[in-house]
Symmetry: C2
Subunit: 119 residues, 2 copies
């Protein structure tokens, strides 16, 4: 395989300042992504682990939101200070439970096959 072992997406969506759900950008997501890049490079993981910006990940109430694939690990309220711990956990195959967004709090749907109405 020649693909990223871990692909980190950081929501950098921007909403107007008066948007009721807020947005990740206003909570420092650009700095969080920059820190991910720095920590990945510092550990020699560049090429194996990639940190990308993403548009709205639809978890605004939990922002700054980060999702890591292919493991499908969702983190919420991530700060720059949290990033080294997340990258350490990633490299060790662990999850930082205190930051994980529980499945029941994720926007999305359960795994059954019935189409959901548009909303």
């Amino acid at each position: 395989m020649a693909r990223f072992e871990h692909h980190i997406f950081v929501c950098e969506n921007v909403r107007p300042p008066d948007a009721p759900r807020g947005c990740c950008a206003a909570k420092g997501s650009a700095e969080v992504r920059a820190k991910f890049k720095e920590e990945v490079e510092r550990r020699g993981l560049k090429g194996r682990v990639r940190a990308n910006s993403a548009g709205c990940l639809d978890q605004c109430a939990n922002g700054v939101t980060v999702v890591i694939y292919p493991a499908q690990t969702w983190y919420g309220r991530v700060t720059v200070a949290d990033v080294p711990e997340i990258v350490d956990a990633l490299a060790a195959g662990r999850v930082v439970e205190r930051l994980r967004i529980p499945d029941e709090k994720l926007t999305g749907r359960s795994g059954d096959a019935t189409p959901r109405r548009s909303a």
Copy 2:
């Protein structure tokens, strides 16, 4: 589970017009992402399948680049006309082979555990 069953990321990175590698934005990635959103909604898959913009996915030579997680399916040179076929395949658990970027052409690294030098 309450998370996206399929999470589609479309590279919308913008580079200067004279950048040698080109960029996905100049090849119509915004229109590709809009078409993904439209096809997902049309099939009643909103909430189960999400199409997001992403920053540079580091596959510029293969742009417009799309990666779908958690399956880790990479598509290259995606056009608006290709999107319905990709979403149909996704819903059916298939891959559109003619658009798939072969692993050996992906930027990234092989799956061994040795740290890679920064580049």
